[in-house]
Protein backbone atom coordinates (compact mmCIF):
# COMPACT_ATOMS: atom_id res chain seq x y z
CA UNK A 1 0.00 0.00 0.00
CA UNK A 2 1.74 3.19 -1.15
CA UNK A 3 1.77 6.17 1.20
CA UNK A 4 0.59 8.57 -1.47
CA UNK A 5 -3.12 9.05 -0.81
CA UNK A 6 -4.16 9.70 -4.42
CA UNK A 7 -2.39 6.56 -5.68
CA UNK A 8 -4.79 4.44 -3.64
CA UNK A 9 -7.61 5.59 -5.89
CA UNK A 10 -5.78 4.75 -9.13
CA UNK A 11 -6.86 1.07 -9.10
CA UNK A 12 -10.46 2.26 -9.01
CA UNK A 13 -9.84 4.41 -12.07
CA UNK A 14 -8.10 1.52 -13.85
CA UNK A 15 -10.95 -0.79 -12.99
CA UNK A 16 -13.43 1.67 -14.42
CA UNK A 17 -11.39 2.06 -17.63
CA UNK A 18 -11.13 -1.72 -18.08
CA UNK A 19 -14.87 -2.02 -17.46
CA UNK A 20 -15.53 0.69 -20.06
CA UNK A 21 -13.29 -1.07 -22.60
CA UNK A 22 -15.10 -4.34 -21.91
CA UNK A 23 -18.55 -2.77 -22.30
CA UNK A 24 -17.54 -0.83 -25.40
CA UNK A 25 -15.95 -3.96 -26.84
CA UNK A 26 -19.18 -5.90 -26.41
CA UNK A 27 -21.17 -3.29 -28.32
CA UNK A 28 -18.60 -3.16 -31.14
CA UNK A 29 -18.35 -6.96 -31.27
CA UNK A 30 -22.07 -7.50 -31.71
CA UNK A 31 -22.14 -4.67 -34.27
CA UNK A 32 -19.62 -6.49 -36.43
CA UNK A 33 -20.56 -10.12 -35.78
CA UNK A 34 -24.33 -10.04 -35.83
CA UNK A 35 -26.02 -10.15 -39.23
CA UNK A 36 -28.31 -7.29 -40.19
CA UNK A 37 -31.40 -7.61 -42.33
CA UNK A 38 -33.67 -4.72 -41.39
CA UNK A 39 -37.26 -4.63 -42.61
CA UNK A 40 -39.82 -1.88 -42.19
CA UNK A 41 -41.72 -3.76 -39.51
CA UNK A 42 -38.54 -4.43 -37.52
CA UNK A 43 -37.62 -0.77 -37.63
CA UNK A 44 -40.90 0.59 -36.28
CA UNK A 45 -41.35 1.21 -32.55
CA UNK A 46 -42.59 -1.88 -30.75
CA UNK A 47 -46.23 -1.53 -29.89
CA UNK A 48 -47.40 -5.12 -29.55
CA UNK A 49 -47.79 -5.56 -33.30
CA UNK A 50 -50.14 -2.61 -33.74
CA UNK A 51 -49.29 0.35 -35.95
CA UNK A 52 -47.61 2.86 -33.63
CA UNK A 53 -49.70 5.89 -32.70
CA UNK A 54 -47.61 9.02 -32.33
CA UNK A 55 -44.22 8.87 -30.63
CA UNK A 56 -43.20 8.69 -26.98
CA UNK A 57 -42.43 12.38 -26.60
CA UNK A 58 -45.75 13.11 -24.93
CA UNK A 59 -46.45 14.35 -21.43
CA UNK A 60 -46.18 12.19 -18.35
CA UNK A 61 -47.29 12.47 -14.76
CA UNK A 62 -45.91 15.37 -12.75
CA UNK A 63 -45.57 12.92 -9.85
CA UNK A 64 -42.23 11.78 -11.20
CA UNK A 65 -40.84 15.30 -10.85
CA UNK A 66 -42.14 15.52 -7.30
CA UNK A 67 -40.43 12.26 -6.40
CA UNK A 68 -37.18 13.50 -7.93
CA UNK A 69 -37.38 16.69 -5.84
CA UNK A 70 -38.17 14.78 -2.66
CA UNK A 71 -35.26 12.47 -3.38
CA UNK A 72 -32.84 15.38 -3.49
CA UNK A 73 -34.11 16.75 -0.17
CA UNK A 74 -34.03 13.48 1.70
CA UNK A 75 -30.82 12.24 0.15
CA UNK A 76 -29.04 15.36 1.32
CA UNK A 77 -30.33 14.48 4.77
CA UNK A 78 -28.88 10.99 4.49
CA UNK A 79 -25.53 12.31 3.27
CA UNK A 80 -25.45 14.75 6.20
CA UNK A 81 -25.97 11.88 8.63
CA UNK A 82 -23.02 9.79 7.39
CA UNK A 83 -20.09 11.74 8.89
CA UNK A 84 -22.06 12.19 12.10
CA UNK A 85 -22.68 8.44 12.37
CA UNK A 86 -18.97 7.66 12.07
CA UNK A 87 -17.89 9.91 14.95
CA UNK A 88 -20.94 9.48 17.19
CA UNK A 89 -18.90 7.47 19.71
CA UNK A 90 -16.70 10.50 20.31
CA UNK A 91 -19.57 12.99 20.35
CA UNK A 92 -21.56 10.94 22.90
CA UNK A 93 -24.93 12.33 24.04
CA UNK A 94 -24.14 15.85 22.85
CA UNK A 95 -23.96 14.62 19.25
CA UNK A 96 -27.15 12.66 19.73
CA UNK A 97 -29.16 15.70 20.92
CA UNK A 98 -27.79 17.90 18.17
CA UNK A 99 -28.76 15.41 15.47
CA UNK A 100 -32.21 14.87 16.98
CA UNK A 101 -32.97 18.55 16.37
CA UNK A 102 -31.99 18.12 12.73
CA UNK A 103 -33.95 14.87 12.29
CA UNK A 104 -36.94 16.53 13.98
CA UNK A 105 -36.94 19.30 11.40
CA UNK A 106 -36.68 16.78 8.58
CA UNK A 107 -39.55 14.75 10.03
CA UNK A 108 -41.74 17.86 10.11
CA UNK A 109 -40.99 18.20 6.39
CA UNK A 110 -41.88 14.57 5.77
CA UNK A 111 -45.12 14.99 7.72
CA UNK A 112 -46.05 18.07 5.65
CA UNK A 113 -45.34 16.30 2.37
CA UNK A 114 -47.32 13.29 3.53
CA UNK A 115 -50.37 15.37 4.53
CA UNK A 116 -50.21 17.28 1.25
CA UNK A 117 -50.69 13.96 -0.54
CA UNK A 118 -47.44 14.06 -2.50
CA UNK A 119 -46.74 10.48 -1.47
CA UNK A 120 -50.15 9.22 -2.63
CA UNK A 121 -50.09 7.66 -6.08
CA UNK A 122 -53.59 6.28 -6.24
CA UNK A 123 -56.42 7.85 -8.20
CA UNK A 124 -58.63 9.09 -5.34
CA UNK A 125 -56.13 11.47 -3.86
CA UNK A 126 -55.39 12.96 -7.24
CA UNK A 127 -59.08 13.59 -7.83
CA UNK A 128 -59.37 15.30 -4.45
CA UNK A 129 -57.32 18.09 -5.97
CA UNK A 130 -54.66 18.30 -3.30
CA UNK A 131 -51.81 18.35 -5.77
Amino acid sequence: MPENYIVRYLPLLFHMLIAAVLAGGMVVLSYFVGYRRPTRAKMSPYECGMTPVGDARGRFSVKFYLVAMLFILFDVEAVFLYPWAVILRQLKMFGFYEMMVYIGIVLVGLFYVWKKGVLDWNQTSTRRGTI
Binding site: M1, Y35, R37, D75, A85
Partner: protein, 346 residues
Protein backbone atom coordinates in the same frame (compact mmCIF):
# COMPACT_ATOMS: atom_id res chain seq x y z
CA UNK B 1 6.14 -2.06 1.03
CA UNK B 2 5.28 -2.25 -2.63
CA UNK B 3 6.58 0.26 -5.12
CA UNK B 4 3.96 2.20 -7.03
CA UNK B 5 4.57 0.33 -10.29
CA UNK B 6 4.20 -3.10 -8.68
CA UNK B 7 1.18 -1.84 -6.80
CA UNK B 8 -0.52 -0.75 -10.02
CA UNK B 9 0.37 -3.92 -11.91
CA UNK B 10 -1.00 -6.02 -9.05
CA UNK B 11 -4.12 -3.87 -9.08
CA UNK B 12 -4.69 -4.45 -12.80
CA UNK B 13 -4.18 -8.20 -12.38
CA UNK B 14 -6.66 -8.20 -9.52
CA UNK B 15 -9.14 -6.25 -11.66
CA UNK B 16 -8.88 -8.79 -14.47
CA UNK B 17 -9.35 -11.72 -12.09
CA UNK B 18 -12.27 -9.98 -10.37
CA UNK B 19 -14.00 -9.22 -13.67
CA UNK B 20 -13.63 -12.78 -14.95
CA UNK B 21 -14.96 -14.17 -11.66
CA UNK B 22 -17.78 -11.62 -11.57
CA UNK B 23 -18.94 -12.25 -15.13
CA UNK B 24 -18.77 -16.02 -14.65
CA UNK B 25 -20.71 -15.67 -11.42
CA UNK B 26 -23.28 -13.51 -13.21
CA UNK B 27 -23.69 -16.10 -15.97
CA UNK B 28 -24.14 -18.91 -13.47
CA UNK B 29 -26.52 -16.89 -11.31
CA UNK B 30 -28.76 -16.69 -14.36
CA UNK B 31 -28.43 -20.48 -14.75
CA UNK B 32 -29.13 -20.98 -11.04
CA UNK B 33 -32.16 -18.75 -11.21
CA UNK B 34 -33.64 -20.56 -14.18
CA UNK B 35 -32.95 -23.91 -12.55
CA UNK B 36 -34.28 -23.03 -9.09
CA UNK B 37 -37.35 -21.17 -10.31
CA UNK B 38 -37.96 -24.05 -12.67
CA UNK B 39 -37.93 -26.59 -9.85
CA UNK B 40 -40.13 -24.32 -7.72
CA UNK B 41 -42.69 -24.30 -10.52
CA UNK B 42 -42.42 -28.06 -11.02
CA UNK B 43 -40.37 -27.78 -14.23
CA UNK B 44 -36.82 -28.85 -15.00
CA UNK B 45 -35.25 -25.57 -16.10
CA UNK B 46 -32.42 -25.80 -18.65
CA UNK B 47 -31.34 -29.42 -19.24
CA UNK B 48 -30.29 -29.67 -22.87
CA UNK B 49 -26.92 -27.90 -23.12
CA UNK B 50 -24.35 -29.92 -21.19
CA UNK B 51 -24.95 -31.91 -17.99
CA UNK B 52 -27.74 -30.24 -15.93
CA UNK B 53 -27.76 -27.50 -18.56
CA UNK B 54 -24.46 -26.23 -17.17
CA UNK B 55 -23.26 -24.95 -20.54
CA UNK B 56 -26.45 -22.94 -21.05
CA UNK B 57 -24.83 -19.58 -20.09
CA UNK B 58 -22.15 -20.17 -22.73
CA UNK B 59 -24.74 -20.94 -25.38
CA UNK B 60 -26.76 -17.87 -24.36
CA UNK B 61 -23.69 -15.65 -24.59
CA UNK B 62 -22.87 -16.94 -28.05
CA UNK B 63 -26.44 -16.44 -29.16
CA UNK B 64 -26.46 -12.85 -27.90
CA UNK B 65 -23.35 -12.03 -29.94
CA UNK B 66 -24.69 -13.62 -33.10
CA UNK B 67 -28.16 -12.04 -32.93
CA UNK B 68 -29.21 -9.17 -35.16
CA UNK B 69 -28.03 -5.86 -33.69
CA UNK B 70 -30.92 -3.50 -34.47
CA UNK B 71 -30.69 0.24 -34.04
CA UNK B 72 -34.18 1.49 -34.94
CA UNK B 73 -34.32 4.84 -36.77
CA UNK B 74 -36.68 6.46 -34.26
CA UNK B 75 -34.20 6.34 -31.36
CA UNK B 76 -31.80 9.01 -30.14
CA UNK B 77 -28.72 7.17 -31.36
CA UNK B 78 -25.84 8.41 -29.14
CA UNK B 79 -27.84 7.98 -25.93
CA UNK B 80 -29.35 4.71 -27.12
CA UNK B 81 -25.86 3.23 -27.51
CA UNK B 82 -24.44 4.92 -24.40
CA UNK B 83 -27.19 3.71 -22.06
CA UNK B 84 -26.24 0.00 -21.87
CA UNK B 85 -22.56 0.92 -21.62
CA UNK B 86 -23.26 3.28 -18.70
CA UNK B 87 -25.43 0.69 -16.96
CA UNK B 88 -22.83 -2.04 -17.31
CA UNK B 89 -19.73 0.01 -16.47
CA UNK B 90 -21.17 1.24 -13.20
CA UNK B 91 -22.62 -2.15 -12.36
CA UNK B 92 -19.26 -3.91 -12.64
CA UNK B 93 -17.21 -1.07 -11.15
CA UNK B 94 -18.67 -1.26 -7.66
CA UNK B 95 -16.98 -4.63 -7.13
CA UNK B 96 -13.65 -2.73 -7.04
CA UNK B 97 -13.93 -1.55 -3.43
CA UNK B 98 -15.35 -4.76 -1.96
CA UNK B 99 -12.90 -6.72 0.23
CA UNK B 100 -13.17 -10.50 -0.07
CA UNK B 101 -10.94 -11.51 2.80
CA UNK B 102 -7.97 -10.63 4.95
CA UNK B 103 -4.79 -9.57 3.11
CA UNK B 104 -2.77 -12.53 1.83
CA UNK B 105 1.01 -12.78 1.60
CA UNK B 106 2.45 -13.65 -1.81
CA UNK B 107 6.26 -13.78 -2.30
CA UNK B 108 6.71 -12.01 1.02
CA UNK B 109 4.46 -9.12 0.04
CA UNK B 110 1.15 -8.28 1.66
CA UNK B 111 -1.64 -8.06 -0.91
CA UNK B 112 -5.14 -7.04 0.17
CA UNK B 113 -7.97 -9.06 -1.42
CA UNK B 114 -9.54 -5.85 -2.64
CA UNK B 115 -8.85 -3.89 -5.79
CA UNK B 116 -8.99 -0.37 -4.39
CA UNK B 117 -8.36 -0.32 -0.64
CA UNK B 118 -9.79 3.11 0.18
CA UNK B 119 -11.09 4.33 3.51
CA UNK B 120 -14.42 5.58 2.15
CA UNK B 121 -15.42 2.32 0.46
CA UNK B 122 -19.06 2.47 1.49
CA UNK B 123 -19.52 6.00 0.13
CA UNK B 124 -17.93 5.00 -3.18
CA UNK B 125 -20.24 2.01 -3.52
CA UNK B 126 -23.29 4.16 -2.81
CA UNK B 127 -22.09 6.74 -5.33
CA UNK B 128 -21.38 4.24 -8.07
CA UNK B 129 -24.59 2.26 -7.64
CA UNK B 130 -26.69 5.41 -7.80
CA UNK B 131 -25.03 6.28 -11.11
CA UNK B 132 -26.67 3.14 -12.47
CA UNK B 133 -29.99 4.94 -12.61
CA UNK B 134 -28.64 7.03 -15.51
CA UNK B 135 -28.34 3.95 -17.69
CA UNK B 136 -31.94 2.99 -17.04
CA UNK B 137 -33.37 6.50 -17.41
CA UNK B 138 -31.41 7.20 -20.61
CA UNK B 139 -32.38 3.84 -22.11
CA UNK B 140 -36.04 4.53 -21.41
CA UNK B 141 -36.00 8.01 -22.84
CA UNK B 142 -33.72 7.49 -25.85
CA UNK B 143 -35.68 4.46 -27.12
CA UNK B 144 -38.57 6.75 -28.05
CA UNK B 145 -41.05 4.00 -27.31
CA UNK B 146 -43.97 4.34 -24.92
CA UNK B 147 -43.22 1.16 -23.01
CA UNK B 148 -39.57 2.08 -22.64
CA UNK B 149 -40.39 5.58 -21.49
CA UNK B 150 -42.84 4.37 -18.86
CA UNK B 151 -40.44 1.66 -17.74
CA UNK B 152 -37.55 4.09 -17.51
CA UNK B 153 -39.61 6.64 -15.56
CA UNK B 154 -40.90 4.03 -13.18
CA UNK B 155 -37.44 2.59 -12.68
CA UNK B 156 -35.82 5.94 -11.96
CA UNK B 157 -38.59 7.04 -9.57
CA UNK B 158 -38.43 3.70 -7.77
CA UNK B 159 -34.65 3.60 -7.58
CA UNK B 160 -34.32 7.12 -6.18
CA UNK B 161 -37.14 6.53 -3.69
CA UNK B 162 -35.65 3.38 -2.24
CA UNK B 163 -32.13 4.75 -2.28
CA UNK B 164 -33.04 6.95 0.68
CA UNK B 165 -34.21 4.05 2.86
CA UNK B 166 -31.19 2.06 1.70
CA UNK B 167 -28.84 4.87 2.68
CA UNK B 168 -30.51 5.40 6.04
CA UNK B 169 -30.51 1.70 6.89
CA UNK B 170 -26.70 1.69 6.62
CA UNK B 171 -26.28 4.41 9.23
CA UNK B 172 -26.87 1.99 12.11
CA UNK B 173 -23.97 -0.11 10.85
CA UNK B 174 -21.80 2.99 10.48
CA UNK B 175 -22.55 4.02 14.06
CA UNK B 176 -21.55 0.59 15.35
CA UNK B 177 -18.37 0.31 13.26
CA UNK B 178 -17.32 3.98 13.35
CA UNK B 179 -15.72 3.79 9.91
CA UNK B 180 -16.53 4.01 6.21
CA UNK B 181 -13.91 1.43 5.32
CA UNK B 182 -15.56 -1.87 4.46
CA UNK B 183 -12.61 -3.75 5.91
CA UNK B 184 -12.97 -1.97 9.28
CA UNK B 185 -16.69 -2.67 9.25
CA UNK B 186 -16.01 -6.39 8.83
CA UNK B 187 -13.27 -6.32 11.49
CA UNK B 188 -15.71 -4.70 13.93
CA UNK B 189 -17.91 -7.79 13.58
CA UNK B 190 -15.30 -10.37 14.66
CA UNK B 191 -15.72 -12.35 17.85
CA UNK B 192 -18.73 -13.94 19.54
CA UNK B 193 -21.27 -13.20 22.30
CA UNK B 194 -21.57 -15.78 25.11
CA UNK B 195 -19.31 -18.13 23.26
CA UNK B 196 -21.53 -19.04 20.31
CA UNK B 197 -23.51 -16.16 18.75
CA UNK B 198 -21.28 -14.41 16.19
CA UNK B 199 -20.95 -10.65 16.57
CA UNK B 200 -22.46 -9.93 13.18
CA UNK B 201 -24.33 -6.66 12.89
CA UNK B 202 -27.57 -8.51 12.27
CA UNK B 203 -27.23 -9.96 15.80
CA UNK B 204 -26.16 -6.62 17.22
CA UNK B 205 -29.61 -5.11 17.01
CA UNK B 206 -29.44 -4.26 13.31
CA UNK B 207 -32.00 -6.84 12.22
CA UNK B 208 -34.54 -4.13 11.33
CA UNK B 209 -31.85 -2.33 9.37
CA UNK B 210 -31.19 -5.59 7.54
CA UNK B 211 -34.88 -5.92 6.68
CA UNK B 212 -34.94 -2.35 5.35
CA UNK B 213 -31.75 -2.99 3.40
CA UNK B 214 -33.23 -6.18 1.94
CA UNK B 215 -36.43 -4.50 0.73
CA UNK B 216 -34.62 -1.45 -0.63
CA UNK B 217 -32.02 -3.61 -2.35
CA UNK B 218 -34.73 -5.59 -4.14
CA UNK B 219 -36.28 -2.33 -5.30
CA UNK B 220 -32.90 -0.88 -6.30
CA UNK B 221 -32.11 -3.86 -8.48
CA UNK B 222 -35.64 -3.91 -9.96
CA UNK B 223 -36.34 -7.45 -8.86
CA UNK B 224 -39.58 -9.16 -7.88
CA UNK B 225 -41.58 -8.13 -5.87
CA UNK B 226 -40.55 -4.65 -7.03
CA UNK B 227 -39.94 -5.32 -10.72
CA UNK B 228 -42.45 -2.69 -11.87
CA UNK B 229 -40.06 -1.20 -14.44
CA UNK B 230 -40.18 -4.40 -16.47
CA UNK B 231 -43.63 -5.66 -15.55
CA UNK B 232 -44.10 -8.00 -18.52
CA UNK B 233 -47.87 -7.96 -18.39
CA UNK B 234 -48.15 -4.22 -18.87
CA UNK B 235 -44.83 -2.89 -20.18
CA UNK B 236 -43.48 -5.77 -22.34
CA UNK B 237 -39.88 -5.44 -21.13
CA UNK B 238 -39.80 -1.91 -19.70
CA UNK B 239 -36.80 0.24 -20.48
CA UNK B 240 -35.06 -2.37 -22.66
CA UNK B 241 -37.99 -3.11 -24.94
CA UNK B 242 -36.21 -1.66 -27.98
CA UNK B 243 -32.85 -3.29 -27.27
CA UNK B 244 -31.60 -6.39 -28.99
CA UNK B 245 -28.51 -8.55 -29.20
CA UNK B 246 -25.54 -7.68 -26.96
CA UNK B 247 -27.02 -4.37 -25.85
CA UNK B 248 -29.91 -6.27 -24.30
CA UNK B 249 -27.47 -8.72 -22.73
CA UNK B 250 -25.58 -5.82 -21.19
CA UNK B 251 -28.68 -4.67 -19.30
CA UNK B 252 -29.08 -8.23 -18.15
CA UNK B 253 -25.46 -8.43 -17.02
CA UNK B 254 -25.73 -5.13 -15.18
CA UNK B 255 -28.88 -6.30 -13.37
CA UNK B 256 -27.19 -9.46 -12.15
CA UNK B 257 -23.92 -7.67 -11.37
CA UNK B 258 -25.93 -5.25 -9.24
CA UNK B 259 -27.48 -8.21 -7.44
CA UNK B 260 -23.96 -9.48 -6.81
CA UNK B 261 -22.86 -6.13 -5.37
CA UNK B 262 -25.94 -5.99 -3.16
CA UNK B 263 -25.26 -9.52 -1.92
CA UNK B 264 -21.58 -8.73 -1.20
CA UNK B 265 -22.55 -5.54 0.60
CA UNK B 266 -25.18 -7.34 2.68
CA UNK B 267 -22.55 -9.92 3.62
CA UNK B 268 -20.04 -7.27 4.61
CA UNK B 269 -22.40 -4.94 6.45
CA UNK B 270 -24.76 -7.31 8.21
CA UNK B 271 -23.56 -10.90 7.98
CA UNK B 272 -20.02 -10.56 9.29
CA UNK B 273 -18.14 -10.62 5.98
CA UNK B 274 -15.58 -13.42 5.84
CA UNK B 275 -15.81 -14.30 9.54
CA UNK B 276 -16.86 -17.84 10.36
CA UNK B 277 -15.63 -20.86 12.26
CA UNK B 278 -11.93 -21.49 11.66
CA UNK B 279 -10.43 -24.98 11.90
CA UNK B 280 -8.00 -27.35 10.24
CA UNK B 281 -4.43 -26.88 8.96
CA UNK B 282 -2.91 -23.55 7.95
CA UNK B 283 -3.67 -23.94 4.26
CA UNK B 284 -7.35 -24.58 4.94
CA UNK B 285 -7.43 -21.63 7.31
CA UNK B 286 -6.16 -19.41 4.51
CA UNK B 287 -8.99 -20.48 2.20
CA UNK B 288 -11.84 -20.63 4.72
CA UNK B 289 -12.57 -16.85 4.87
CA UNK B 290 -13.13 -16.85 1.10
CA UNK B 291 -15.38 -19.88 1.44
CA UNK B 292 -17.47 -18.25 4.17
CA UNK B 293 -17.75 -15.07 2.13
CA UNK B 294 -18.81 -16.97 -0.97
CA UNK B 295 -21.28 -19.06 1.00
CA UNK B 296 -22.97 -16.02 2.50
CA UNK B 297 -23.20 -14.31 -0.89
CA UNK B 298 -24.65 -17.50 -2.34
CA UNK B 299 -27.28 -17.69 0.40
CA UNK B 300 -28.26 -14.09 -0.23
CA UNK B 301 -28.55 -14.70 -3.98
CA UNK B 302 -30.58 -17.83 -3.31
CA UNK B 303 -32.95 -15.73 -1.21
CA UNK B 304 -33.33 -13.39 -4.19
CA UNK B 305 -34.35 -16.30 -6.39
CA UNK B 306 -36.57 -17.82 -3.74
CA UNK B 307 -38.43 -14.53 -3.36
CA UNK B 308 -38.80 -14.36 -7.11
CA UNK B 309 -40.33 -17.81 -7.17
CA UNK B 310 -42.72 -16.97 -4.33
CA UNK B 311 -44.01 -13.40 -4.27
CA UNK B 312 -46.33 -11.59 -6.67
CA UNK B 313 -45.63 -8.10 -7.96
CA UNK B 314 -46.59 -4.91 -6.09
CA UNK B 315 -48.85 -2.29 -7.63
CA UNK B 316 -47.05 1.00 -8.31
CA UNK B 317 -48.90 3.09 -5.71
CA UNK B 318 -48.32 0.33 -3.15
CA UNK B 319 -44.63 0.34 -4.02
CA UNK B 320 -44.31 4.08 -3.52
CA UNK B 321 -46.37 4.03 -0.33
CA UNK B 322 -44.29 1.17 1.05
CA UNK B 323 -41.04 3.01 0.37
CA UNK B 324 -41.98 6.47 1.59
CA UNK B 325 -44.57 5.80 4.28
CA UNK B 326 -43.23 2.62 5.83
CA UNK B 327 -39.54 2.00 5.11
CA UNK B 328 -38.40 5.62 5.46
CA UNK B 329 -39.95 6.27 8.92
CA UNK B 330 -38.82 2.81 10.02
CA UNK B 331 -35.26 3.54 8.89
CA UNK B 332 -35.25 6.85 10.77
CA UNK B 333 -36.62 5.16 13.91
CA UNK B 334 -33.97 2.45 13.70
CA UNK B 335 -31.20 4.99 13.32
CA UNK B 336 -32.46 7.10 16.25
CA UNK B 337 -32.65 4.07 18.56
CA UNK B 338 -29.22 2.78 17.53
CA UNK B 339 -27.72 6.24 17.99
CA UNK B 340 -29.34 6.58 21.43
CA UNK B 341 -28.01 3.22 22.64
CA UNK B 342 -24.51 3.82 21.30
CA UNK B 343 -24.30 7.41 22.53
CA UNK B 344 -25.65 6.41 25.97
CA UNK B 345 -23.15 3.59 26.46
CA UNK B 346 -20.18 5.33 24.82
Amino acid sequence: MLSIQTFLIVAVIKTLIALVVLLTAVAYTVWLERKVVGHMQNRWGPTRVGPFGLLQPLADGLKFILKEDLTPPHVNKPLYIAAPIIAMVFAITSIAVIPFGNPITVFGKQIPLQIADVNIGLLIILGITSMGVYGVALAGWSSNNKYSLLGGLRASAQMVSYEISLGLSLIGVLILAGSFSLKDIVDAQSGVFWGFIPKWNIFQGQIIAFFIYLCSAYAETNRIPFDLPEAETELVAGYHTEYSSMKFAMFFISEYANMMTVACLATILFLGGWHGPMFGPALLQAVLPLVWFGLKVFCFLFLYIWVRGTLPRFRYDQLMAFGWKFLLPLAIANLVITALVVAWTA
